[in-house]
């Protein structure tokens, strides 16, 4: 079991968003999060990635094993595609970026400045970063935004091979990813107004 989440309660902007959420993620498993706009998917993923703390419950197994990809790709416009990837490879202590370039067919673009890519090409670069982190758990927020059909299947292939090597993935999305995976709908866990404990404005209610 790579990641386990128990009885999690989350707040955003001082308001509880989700309560009582729990799930586990095994090696080789992908879990797809679904829920309407504003349900709290982004909040949940940021929390699991350690960018925000939960107001209740426990997350275990998430230390330094998580590669997070959010709405912003962390791409430097003035570095080439190759330099962008190389930087992250060095930060995560891995040297080789050829495999990552391959998976998203980025070789033809490798020496372009990242700022001159189209929206979908940028996203491909952002996703290829995951392959150089070497982290077992991927936490992805709407990864296929702006991707065309080919690129979506590249993504699906990358996720599959990640799972095959014992990794796991947690993905929030509204659209079809071309992946077979379990789906977790977070709608039932939406919080109610009378849920106070732990929120930052608890004392004032």
């Amino acid at each position: 079991m790579l990641l386990s989440v128990q009885d999690l309660t989350l707040a955003r902007g001082g308001v509880p968003v989700l309560t009582g959420l729990g799930f586990t993620l095994e090696a080789g498993q992908a879990l797809i999060l679904r829920g309407p706009n504003g349900a709290g998917k982004t909040t949940l993923l940021r929390c699991i990635a350690g960018l925000q703390s939960p107001i209740g419950g426990a997350i275990s197994g998430a230390e330094e094993t998580i590669a997070y990809a959010g709405h912003a790709d962390g791409i430097k416009a003035m570095l080439s595609v190759r330099e962008n990837l190389q930087f992250w490879a060095q930060v995560f202590g891995k040297g080789d970026i050829a495999a990552a370039l391959d998976s998203y067919a980025l070789h033809p673009l490798a020496d372009r400045l990242a700022g001159t890519l189209s929206a979908g090409q940028k996203r491909r670069l952002g996703l290829s970063r995951l392959l150089v982190t070497g982290c077992p758990i991927w936490v992805l927020d709407e990864p296929t935004v702006s991707l065309d059909v080919d690129a979506v299947s590249m993504f699906a292939a990358a996720v599959k091979s990640h799972l095959a090597t014992g990794g796991a993935a947690l993905i929030a999305t509204h659209i079809d990813l071309g992946l077979e995976a379990e789906v977790l709908d977070i709608t039932p866990f939406r919080a109610h107004a009378d849920h106070y404990s732990g929120t930052s404005d608890e004392a004032f209610l």
Partner: protein, 218 residues
């Protein structure tokens, strides 16, 4: 760590990266001073060390808003936070990169600008020494300010407001040392104080900056 330093330096040297802008700003402010206070040579000579210090400080200040905000805007900071790097070290490296691309060129260029402002000959050496000792503190304190305002859109002006009061001791000792040097007095006391401030801030500020960054990004 080194990857981060190299990336920051490389970005600074790329088009639009801002290397040299601080220097150019320093140059322009210094040239504007005679326009605004009038061209009398003695007057200029007597305010020269101060003006050069103030100019260097402002040039440093103006380049601060790129220090962390660019990384915040494109999401790099979030990713760095989840990467296996101690944030204190990352913050120190960023301050170092800032000093190398901004403070160091200012130190080297200051004597040239001294000529424009009729700096007395005895002043050049001490001006350079005092700037070399003082500008690292400016970068480190500035990183703290940048971390404080990182979540704020276009917080450049607020950043200046927060950082300038923190710059006061550095400025006073630095300018005093340069002024005493220019007047032929002994500048060692202010220089020692300046070195103390620089060492102290380098040792302690990264912790404050990292703490503030964690709070702000939460």
């Amino acid at each position: 760590m080194i990857a981060l330093l190299l990336r920051d330096l490389r970005l600074a040297f790329r088009a639009g990266g801002g290397f040299g802008l601080g220097l150019a700003f320093f140059l322009i402010v210094t040239t504007l001073v005679p326009f605004s206070v009038g061209p009398t040579a003695e007057l200029l000579g007597s305010i020269a060390p101060g003006v050069l210090w103030l100019g260097a400080l402002l040039a440093c200040l103006l380049s601060l808003d790129r220090l962390l905000a660019l990384d915040y805007e494109d999401g790099t900071l979030d990713l760095l936070l989840t990467a296996p790097l101690p944030l204190e070290a990352a913050v120190s490296v960023k301050a170092l990169a800032h000093w190398l691309t901004t403070g160091l060129p200012l130190v080297l260029a200051a004597p040239l600008l001294g000529v424009l402002l009729n700096l007395p000959p005895s002043g050049y050496g001490w001006l350079v020494v005092s700037l070399a000792l003082g500008t690292p503190a400016l970068s480190v304190i500035g990183t703290f300010g940048a971390a404080l305002t990182v979540g704020i859109k276009r917080g450049g002006l607020l950043l200046s407001l927060l950082v300038l009061p923190l710059y006061v001791p550095t400025l006073i000792f630095g300018a005093e040392a340069a002024r005493r040097g220019a007047m032929g007095l002994d500048p060692s006391t202010p220089l020692v104080m300046l070195a103390g401030i620089t060492l102290g801030t380098i040792a302690l500020m990264p912790f404050a900056s990292a703490a503030v960054l964690r709070m702000g990004l939460r």
